[in-house]
């Protein structure tokens, strides 16, 4: 009897193994071929110098590409822009998203679904379409931003809203916030709705209401959701591509490059494949670090 039992078990275990392998293998194949092998290829390729047109002329350069990056002014500009976008996005998207979520959660009685739907809408529009729509708003000849500024008697930038890099980086931020703040709002709103009524009742007895209660009681309670929101925003800020590709192409004179557009420029316009790979490895390391942070924080949650 006992022996029989073990046999059934080992049979079903091997059966499980077959089923499990069949179910698991497709995902592994896809990720290996299109993510992990290219990731390794990026690392290997970063130690060579080669161009797109002469794929066979790989020349070993060691850390040459990385040394080149440290001496490349525009790489630092791109990295700096990425960080500016990270910080500004956290303030604009997570910050304003939290305020909007708080208002929709407990601040207003009517129209919650309508406001939520409107504010979330830009999320479903492709970033290219978003960029093209904002291009006409920023246009110096026909744009409504100029028209509004002129109608209230303010002066407009002489090189246009996208011509001066000190201004255009903020125009990119405004557009990114337009697209993503609603997403952050919905994410944080879901967290807020998980806070029970009793907590607010208890707070009220202690004399904490409104903004005070929100700051001292609600925010600490949705700490985990806020961390996820900040991480998603940070990861998104390193992936920024379309807005810059459409608005400025990284210009004038590379002042608005970010890592994504600079990698694209090096690889597909200048054909410096090895150098593009080295820049990609730097992006890869940043991305993996952020992914690790996210994993750690989600485990805590």
């Amino acid at each position: 009897m006992n022996k029989n039992n073990t046999q059934t078990n080992s049979f079903s275990l091997s059966n499980d193994k077959v089923s499990a392998t069949i179910l698991l293998v497709p995902a592994l194949i896809f990720c290996t071929i299109f993510i992990f092998i290219p990731a390794i290829g990026t690392i290997v390729g970063s130690f060579y110098s080669y161009s797109l047109t002469s794929m066979n002329n790989w020349k070993w350069v060691g850390f040459g590409n990385y040394i080149k990056a440290t001496q490349d002014e525009y790489f630092w500009v791109a990295l700096k822009n990425n960080f500016i976008i990270v910080f500004a996005s956290i303030v604009l998207q997570v910050g304003v998203g939290t305020i909007l979520a708080a208002i929709l959660d407990r601040g207003i009685k009517y129209g919650r679904v309508i406001f939520r739907t409107i504010i979330f809408t830009p999320m479903v529009i492709s970033s290219v379409a978003v960029s093209l729509i904002w291009l006409i708003i920023y246009d110096p000849n026909v744009g409504i931003l100029n028209a509004i500024f002129k109608s209230i008697g303010l002066s407009t930038p002489s090189k246009g809203w996208l011509g001066d890099p000190n201004i255009s980086i903020w125009m990119i931020m405004i557009t990114a916030a337009w697209q993503n703040t609603g997403f952050m709002m919905v994410l944080i709103l879901a967290g807020l709705q998980g806070v029970s009524k009793e907590v607010y009742d208890a707070a009220e007895i202690d004399g904490a209401t409104g903004v005070k209660a929100f700051w001292y009681i609600t925010l600490p309670m949705i700490r985990n959701v806020l961390i996820v929101a900040i991480l998603i925003t940070t990861i998104g800020a390193f992936k920024v591509f379309e807005f810059i590709f459409v608005f400025t192409q990284g210009g004038p004179s590379n002042a608005t490059q970010v890592l994504g557009t600079y990698i694209y420029l090096q690889a597909f316009n200048l054909f410096h494949m090895g150098y593009a790979n080295a820049l990609s490895v730097i992006l890869l390391l940043i991305a993996l670090f952020l992914g690790w942070l996210q994993l750690k924080s989600s485990r805590k949650a």
Partner: protein, 272 residues
């Protein structure tokens, strides 16, 4: 009481202002479409005096219909593959105690962190060597791969909370894990499948970077890449550009408004 009223006015005022900021560009897009060239230039803030459709006719000449069809094909197949493959893998990871499971899960989380821009050159070389540049298949495959990690994580969390009693009963009846997955788990996973499908459809419909490097021929361009053609073709003819955008954006907005509850739900689950 009056303090309460002021707070209320501020709250409504803030969300109303933000809603105007969100709606204004969409309104500009639609209104510019109907304006004459003169009106676009002289009255940026005005409304069109008549509803002309000549801009739409111009916009359609760049081939928006074919771009949309390509986007539809790519989205349909990639989303189908992503949801199927991810659901299967997540089920194994959540149910069967393999020693390598933890490693596989970590690998998948790592895959989630890697952005396409970080593997751009080798991916392009690979697709090019396979002669799959300028083919929809050539973008569907990598897009599927990049959609899998996130979807596995989504399904994994769902399956962990899934009641195990039904499966145990089926195991006693002699079903294999494969049978259990397709006959019991899949039919009961409607909500998470819907969430995953919605999320991935939005992502793939709008994906830009991989499509940009792989699809250079007009016959195969997806909508986000095709939209750039509007600007190339109608450089300063804003009416035509905005008409093209209206054609591309309005159907998505209508789908969103119909299913907005599910969109919100699928994204809200991310923070949990």
């Amino acid at each position: 009481m009056s303090r309460f009223k002021i707070a209320n006015i501020i709250a409504y005022g803030f969300v109303t202002l933000f809603s105007i900021y969100v709606l204004m560009p969409i309104l500009v897009m639609v209104l510019t479409t109907f304006k004459s060239k003169r009106e676009i230039f002289l009255e940026p803030l005005g409304i069109p005096s008549q509803f002309g459709i000549s801009s739409f006719e111009k916009a359609l000449t760049v081939g928006l219909g074919s771009f949309m069809l390509n986007s539809f094909i790519v989205s349909f197949f990639a989303v189908f593959l992503i949801v199927t493959i991810s659901g299967m893998a997540a089920y194994v990871l959540s149910r069967i105690d393999f020693k390598i499971n933890k490693f596989v899960y970590l690998l998948i989380v790592a895959g989630f962190a890697i952005p396409p821009a970080a593997v751009l050159v080798p991916l392009y070389t690979m697709v090019s060597n396979l002669n799959l540049l300028n083919s929809l298949f050539g973008v569907i495959m990598p897009l599927t791969a990049f959609g899998i990690p996130f979807t596995v994580i989504l399904f994994y969390a769902f399956f962990l909370d899934f009641p195990k009693e039904v499966e145990e009963a089926a195991t006693i009846d002699g079903c294999t894990k494969l049978q259990i997955f397709f006959r019991i788990i899949v039919p009961l996973s409607g909500p998470v499948i819907a969430s995953a499908a919605i999320f991935q459809t939005v992502w793939i419909w709008n994906e830009f970077l991989l499509a940009l490097i792989m699809l250079t021929s007009d016959d195969f361009k997806t909508l986000p890449i095709g939209l750039l053609k509007l600007r190339g073709e109608w450089t300063s003819d804003w009416g035509a550009i905005m008409a093209g955008l209206t054609i591309a954006v309005i159907p998505v907005l209508i789908v969103f408004l119909i299913f907005q509850k599910y969109f919100v739900r699928s994204l809200a689950g991310l923070g949990k």
